[in-house]
Amino acid sequence: MRIGLFVTCLTDTLFPDTGKAVVTLLERLGHQVEFPMDQSCCGQMHFNSGYRREAAPMARGFAAAFAGFEAIVTPSASCAAMVREYHPVLAAHDPGLARDVAEVAPRVHDLATFLTSVLGVTDVDAYFPHRVTYHPTCHSLRMMHVGDAPLRLLRSVRGLELVDLPDAETCCGFGGTFAVKNADVSAAMCADKVAAIRATRAEVVCAGDNSCLMHIGGALSRMRTGVRTMHLAEILASGDGT
């Protein structure tokens, strides 16, 4: 299977360790991963903010960069959902692009469902001896329908103590530009998420989207909670000696 890594612009720019972890993990599972250098951004921020004219070339660029891959895996359920649900909307008035998008978009998978549903693995031979809680991000839950795939993956990690997060399915308040445009409500939502995380007494909060983790982690750090955020990929890539 020819696997392309869609790393996303946010992870590429600010969280390269997550991208490296996806590569490490998939190679450990015996797969080759390619990173098409022509990729940039899926256009979600522009699309969700109403700037469709700016987002459309990004949908075009995505379809071109990932043409020919059997599977496209990304460490962001939110960006995967953008490609699957909204690239067809952006391509609606361009039959050529619509064809390309229809070809590529259904092959985009978030990391957790790619592992459990496409590759059919839940035990990725990871070792992570820490107390961890998992926050199901909204788009992973309600757009990509990952279900309990991330939890099954985490439960199979040796040494990992998984603690249930209270009110886990409530949004953390990130919401893209919402975090800045409605900063007060966003911060109020984050405060409650942080309180729920603290109640678990976990050392690490884990999720499948670096965007939400950047928001939650920013608050955890500001309040000096000593709790750190980690992308699911980084936990799954951890092994003895790494």
């Binding site: 790393v7 612009c9 590429d12 720019t13 600010l14 969280f15 390269p16 360790d17 991208g19 490296k20 390619e34 990173f35 098409p36 250098m37 990729q39 940039s40 951004c41 256009g43 921020m45 522009h46 699309f47 969700n48 903010s49 109403g50 700037y51 469709r52 700016e54 987002a55 070339p57 990004m58 660029g61 960069a65 909204y86 909204c138 788009h139 309600r142 757009m143 409530t170 949004c171 308040g173 919401g175 530009t177 919402f178 975090a179 800045v180 445009k181 409605n182 900063a183 007060d184 409500v185 966003s186 911060a187 109020a188 939502m189 984050c190 950047m214 920013g218 608050a219 750090s221 500001r222």
Partner: protein
Amino acid sequence: MTGSMPTYLGMPAFPDAARAAVANSQLRRNLTHATTAIRTKRARAVAELGDWEDLRQAAKAIKDHVLANLGTYLVRLEENVTKAGGTVHWARDAAEANAIVADLVLAARGGGRVVKVKSMATQETGLNEALAERGITPIETDLAELIVQLGDDLPSHILVPAIHRNRAEIGDLFRRTMPDAPRDLTDEPPQLAAAARAHLRSEFLSAQVGISGANFAVADTGSLVVVESEGNGRMCLTLPRTLISVVGVEKVLPSWRDLEVFLALLPRSSTAERMNPYTTIWSGVTPGDGPDSFHLVLLDNGRTATLRDPVGRQALRCIRCSACLNVCPVYERAGGHAYGSPYPGPIGAILSPQLRGLSSPVDASLPFASSLCGACYEVCPVAINIPEALVHLRARSVESQRHYPERSVFKLSGYVLRSPRRLAAAQRAVALSRFVAGRKGRIRRLPPPLSAWTDTRDAPAPPPESFRAWWARTRGGAS
């Protein structure tokens, strides 16, 4: 033509109103308490039905069919209401509807007091204020609406308009504003309900005119349907000699078979009940039974304008259950008043800017008053894809408004992000900015507008090397 909601003119933009609400400890406590209770109960009530998703899809299909054939069903409704002895009036906007109602009230008994059933349509048109200007005193008889009216307040929830008030605040309000309240009235809910009951009873018995909305209107038989919990609605619908119902044009259903679907969905979604205590259905007038004069005012007020938008029009499927409000994390923290409309919460964020247009500060801000978490879509009994409608309206807003200086930021970032080469260059520039980061790789403060982020959250310091730079270095830029 877009509509108007006169009561809410001049409301501030959502983020400004929400800032005050977020800081209001009493409001926050009241809302969290109420919404948590009701959403838990709703989930339980919905889980009891094995065919919930089928019902939901059926309801969606019925509503979409009606909206696509609205003219046909409205004319059929008019014919059958008329045949049953009622009179149908058509109102293009709030002002027309209010004038029709006021004229009917004055013709029926020359002013005085009228009793009202809880009605979203008349909240939308600002009927109470319009009636007062004509010397008519409207009495709200739904307990929560009465609380709002006595407090000279605005409703903050579709189903529970006084959700922002707790029992202590209501007790205080009754003692101050209800002349016939017992002098030793406590804050206990049964006592508060008894006081309201005694207060309203004399109004029910003396009122000559009742005013209502309707949850549904059945075209085939010209029947109107009001679904409620308290029974006060039924008093208003059956005791006065004249009944006037103001109903949005989208409330029409083809037949009783269609009604069945909604009577299964609505109570479980709104009050988390298997069946609501009172469902009143009437067709025109019946001699010797109920009012002897019935008027139906069909209200447009921006609905046909909304119907023109193929994505936005799904908001007209709404049956006003409030499930989306009760699950919305933004509503729970910002409260209903911040939405500047009788329709708050996620549905309000897509309905109000369509009914009224996107031009006022509050309407322009409403499509952005969401983190797009999608909890609303998940619970909506008529499957309104609220996140989809929100991003659609955001695009309409960007197309029609200036959005200065934001537009230049998005244009520039779009220029960078769509090109892998320019993105890589930007990443190298960002890497150079590492010196502003704190010792632990955290940025504590950024200049505006990003200060809105760092006011409450640290920002991650950029890494020395982007992923693509690492890949190019270690894998030789292969592929």
